[in-house]
């Protein structure tokens, strides 16, 4: 299927129809949204089948794939300045497309149950379709400007959906915070795109990569451009120091968190860096920045996840941390590992979010202090959530183990040893906070009897997506193996499919390595059980173990306070100066002064108006005489 642009077009049409006519459709048109999404999933299947055909002799030939020029988007001066609307499909896209479309379908189905009876039910599905349209466009974009358009599109959809409950002050503020914070990164992205365009004269991603690889761009220039580009990626993917928006983004409906703030939109940054990875390979300073930003973020977010008490926020910190893992992989040039982790993470993290949504739906509580013991009331949710947690913690068989192990492996091979140590410790922390979350939510004694009595298992329309995603969270890691990939019809496992440096990446099981990774995960789980498996005294002991550290993590390293102080002092200070200038100089001196001057002059000059016609006539005569003298004088 060559016409890949149809993929984003379908949800966009759904968005328009639901947005404009949703009120007249049965059930506000939720069925239409689901049907459209199902159609996209089927079409992605066709694209995938077609894409396999672009492998000849185990090598990827993009021209044979669904890589097409669609039409001229902007054409100034008949080809002087031209921007094509183009699509490009390669292996990186082929990982993103099924993830985005499939998770979106699951989330839409789940939302039918979760959002039932909500106000603005139709608008929810409409905005979600807009998001999917923008995300698919982003993924298939062949040039950077088109990507930027889609990039802002997903930002808009994210803003709309975080602020879905805009009657709530905190939701409105979270939406603003998310939009502004990512916007700061987006400015960097735009600067990066412009810099690349200046150097190469094109927006086409493949042309830029070729230009960079052939050394057509100065190294310092390219480094600066790629760092700016990464700023955009860091904003969208919630990397330090722009990570502050993601925990607050949990104000949106939970399925939105699952789709946008866990599985798809936040990996847009990872996708961008992965797409531009050949260029990053040329400028290792920029690539190292990616690596260390990812590393720092992964560790910081994991520590914050340890102490968060809101079930969704724990997952949000976990998402930030896992995105850090992906950037670490990209930072050592391990494209395969990054995309693999992106794939598995999308499945198990959306599963975890949808599971937490099921809990919130049933109990109307999202603080772990009000949950507990829910496994008896909601068995399916508990089992699927536990599967997702095991995948996140990195227990063998489950998907997360394979991909996280691969990242650690690549880091150990190509990165500094201390970085490997930090990331391995982060993996251990991941296991601890995951265990803590599961234990506090589903095990132990109910801490809030009212919420517990209120709880019930969710309807099948919500548990079915959970079961499907739980299956995927279990088995999707196996596509690392050549045999599994071949059975599915690919050239091999994901290593032969997503190829970096032109060489396939063969997955090998290093038993010592896998064993130590498993040991770390198990140790994390054991620590989790030690502190949160028993009664409340243990968890209080955990908190009192190092109160200062607890405070540091719980206050999120004071980053929010720091930014607030920056805004209060620097931004508002500058605003006060500008306001003073506007009030005193522009308004009082300029505008008011102008009127006063005119008024003064008018007051003085009005005496010229005598009201006597002979005076006016004399003025006219003198004027004519003066003109005549001038006319005669000049000739």
């Amino acid at each position: 299927m060559e016409e890949v642009w149809i993929l984003p077009a379908i949800p966009f049409v759904v968005f328009l129809v639901l947005g404009l006519l949703g009120r007249f459709l049965p059930r506000n048109g939720d069925g239409l949204a689901v049907l459209g999404m199902a159609a996209v999933v089927v079409l992605v299947g066709f694209v995938l089948a077609d894409f396999q055909g672009s492998f000849v002799d185990d090598l990827f030939h993009p021209a044979a794939g669904a890589n097409t020029y669609a039409f001229d988007w902007i054409n100034i001066g008949d080809g002087f300045f031209i921007i094509e609307f183009s699509t490009y499909v390669d292996a990186v896209t082929m990982v993103m497309l099924p993830v985005v479309s499939f998770v979106a379908l699951m989330v839409l189905v789940y939302s039918i149950g979760y959002m039932r009876g909500e106000q603005r039910y139709g608008w929810y599905f409409s905005a979600l379709s807009l998001f999917v349209a923008a995300m698919l466009l982003l993924v298939v974009s062949g040039n950077l400007l088109q990507l930027y358009l889609a990039w802002e599109g997903v930002g808009l959809a994210s803003y709309l959906l975080i602020g879905f409950y805009w009657e709530r002050q905190s939701a409105a503020e979270a939406a603003k915070k998310a939009f502004i914070t990512t916007r700061i990164g987006d400015v960097g992205l735009l600067i990066g795109i412009i810099l690349l365009w200046r150097a190469t004269g094109t927006f086409d991603i493949q042309d830029i990569i070729h230009a960079a690889e052939s050394g057509g761009i100065g190294e310092t220039y390219l480094t600066v451009a790629m760092i700016f580009l990464f700023a955009g990626a860091a904003g969208k993917s919630a990397q330090f120091p722009l990570h502050v928006w993601l925990p607050d983004a949990m104000e949106g409906p939970t399925p939105v968190s699952a789709l946008i703030h866990a599985a798809t939109m936040v990996v847009a940054g990872v996708y961008l860096v992965a797409r531009m990875l050949p260029v990053y390979n040329e400028v290792l300073i920029a690539r190292d920045i990616v690596l260390y930003t990812g590393l720092l973020t992964a560790f910081m977010a994991a520590t914050m996840g340890l102490v968060a008490t809101d079930i969704k926020r724990v997952l949000a910190f976990s998402t930030i941390s896992q995105l850090g893992f992906m950037f670490v992989a990209l930072g050592v040039g391990a494209l395969t590992a990054a995309m693999f982790h992106l794939l598995t993470h999308a499945f198990f993290k959306s599963l975890l979010f949808l599971g937490s949504g099921s809990v919130i739906h049933a109990t109307e509580q999202q603080e772990v202090g009000h949950l507990g013991g829910l496994r008896k009331k909601m068995p399916i949710t508990a089992i699927t959530f536990t599967i997702g947690s095991l995948a996140l913690a990195g227990i063998p068989i489950f998907a997360g183990f394979w991909s996280k192990d691969e990242i650690l492996h690549d880091l150990q091979k190509d990165g500094p040893l201390w970085a490997y140590g930090v990331l391995a410790a982060t993996a251990g922390l991941t296991a601890i906070y995951t265990t803590r979350l599961v234990l506090l939510t589903f095990f132990g004694e109910p801490k809030d009897q009212h919420a517990y009595d209120h709880a019930h298992e969710s309807p099948p329309i919500m548990t079915a997506p959970l079961a499907i995603l739980a299956t995927l969270a279990t088995v999707s890691g196996l596509i690392a193996f050549k045999g599994v990939g071949e059975t599915l019809g690919f050239v091999g496992g994901i290593g032969e499919f997503v190829v970096a440096h032109g060489e396939p990446h063969i997955f090998e099981i290093d038993w010592v390595f896998a064993g130590s990774a498993t040991a770390t995960a198990v140790a994390g789980i054991v620590i989790g059980f030690m502190y949160w498996g028993g009664d409340a005294r243990r968890s209080i002991a955990a908190r009192n173990w190092a109160p200062e550290l607890h405070q540091l993590f719980a206050r999120r390293y004071y980053m929010d306070e720091l930014y607030q102080a920056f805004i209060n002092n620097v931004v508002l200070g500058a605003a006060r100066v500008v306001a003073w200038f506007d009030k005193r100089v522009v308004n009082e001196t300029g505008v008011d002064g102008g009127t006063q001057l005119i008024g003064f002059l008018g007051h003085r000059l009005k005496f010229l108006q005598t009201g006597r016609i002979p005076n006016y006539a004399l003025g006219m005569a003198l004027g004519v005489a003066a003109l005549a003298i001038v006319a005669i004088g000049t000739t």
């Binding site: 009005k606 108006q609 005598t610 009201g611 006597r612 016609i613 002979p614 006539a617 004399l618 005569a621």
Partner: protein
Amino acid sequence: MIPLENFLILAGILFATGLYGVLARRSAILILMSVELMLAAVSINFIAFAAYLDGEAFSGLIFALFVITVAAAEVGLALGIVLRLFRERRTSYVDAADTLKW
């Protein structure tokens, strides 16, 4: 043939007389009459130049005709205004119409 200067001097005298009348008289009627004098002076200039500069072309004559037409229309309009002024103020002195003065 009468020299051109004679016509110009006559027109100048007429124009100056008219200008003096416009500036010095208070009666609206007299001012109007003075304006007519100035227009007549201009017309004389047109005709004189037309006759002396190019005997074949008659654009100067046409201008003179236009001046007469416009003057007639103008007087018709102006007399109407003067009549209104007289009915309002019981006088035709232009000093009386000074409402727009500060």
